[in-house]
Amino acid sequence: MEKFVYLRDVVTLALDPEKCVGCGMCLVVCPQAVFSMHDGIAHIENRDQCMECGACSQNCPTAAVTVQAGVGCAAAVINSALGRDGSSCCCVIETDEGSRGGGSVCC
């Protein structure tokens, strides 16, 4: 539907409809229009549009939306693999929060 779509079937986004209270915050914060609202419950409408920024899970009051948040930045992945702190580069993937790389940063 959009001009820009990244790789298919890779993102870690998940939504538990049992926990969803239909507040709609995920629809508000998502910059990629991934979600839609049907029958008072949020749905993942455009899964491949997700960029794993983490805004939805962060703002979900019931933890119904989960995603392994991070910055899709190759330089950060390289820095992380080389064990550099990334102060010379714009992005950092912090590995101290979990083995698969928790939070991440970019400037």
């Binding site: 820009f4 508000v28 960029m51 962060q58 703002n59 910055v71 930045c73 714009c90 940063v105």
Partner: protein, 348 residues
Amino acid sequence: MDQPFVEGSVETKAGRIPRVSSTLTCADHFGSIKARWGVRRMQFTVDPGLYALGNPDDKTRVFVTANYKMSFDRLREALVGRDAWILVLDTNGINVWCAAGKRTFGTEELVRRIASVDLAQIVTHRELILPQLSGPGIAAHLVKKLSGFKVIYGPIESTDLPLFMDAGCKATPEMRKKTFATKERTVLVPVELVGTLKWSLLILPCLFFLGGLGGDSGFWAGTMRYGLFAVVAFLCAIASGAVLTPILLPWLPGRAFSFKGLVMGIITAILVAAFWPGDFNQWAGRAEIFAWFFLIPAISAFLGMNFTGASTYTSLSGVRKEMERAVPLEVVGCGIGLLLWILSLLAA
């Protein structure tokens, strides 16, 4: 208070608050241009705290932003003709979206800053307008719980703020969708280019002087023929990966950025070959031009891949998947290319 863009102050119950204008000066614009080229970008900051735009009172809306001066300037510029309180968070001089990703533009900092500027004393309402792209760092329900202030997510672009405000703080779906238009990609090119040219400054002299090994007319004749061509071809590879790939992104085939960079690199290699002064009938000549058909696409693919960090729609999972396949190919491509090139020099 002693920042060049501060013009006087406003009295409040919580003391004097520095006042700023919606009109940017030449110095403000020049600072933005420098930051886009990577010059003193990390020093392009605003002191965190509260600022008054125009003549705000206790009922005026509060807008929250990062202490990257470009973020601050875009916000005050968008609010021309309006009164506002601007709450600047300490994000270490990093823009809203990237700082939100690191949680420096985060719930904790926001709650702390609301308390440290005594915001509850200055305004009687309990609402804050945050940029939508601060979402990855902010948990709106926690901010409400911890500070009493309700977070309203504004539009992505500050330029949409007047329409958003006039609609009673309602964003249209377009305001909520991050675009990546040609202009948005183009302004990111200088920083990519400066970053790339920094490490290229080490490689370019190596290529030039290695060229001296080529030919039998002496060292300097070799640098002028083989070294110079290598320098030009290398610069074309950088232009392909760091300039043309970002600008032509939606029109290049494939989804992976490295693939887009590869395609652009092959096109560039064909163009470079058209200006190649060598002789295809000799083994050395063939090796030289084949070398660049490996090197240019490999370098371009690598630089294209690096643009994922500047793009607005790539996920970390996707970048990791792309890199698993692309990085080994890029390394092998560069290796074969370099080997062929050196062999061509020794054989020439």
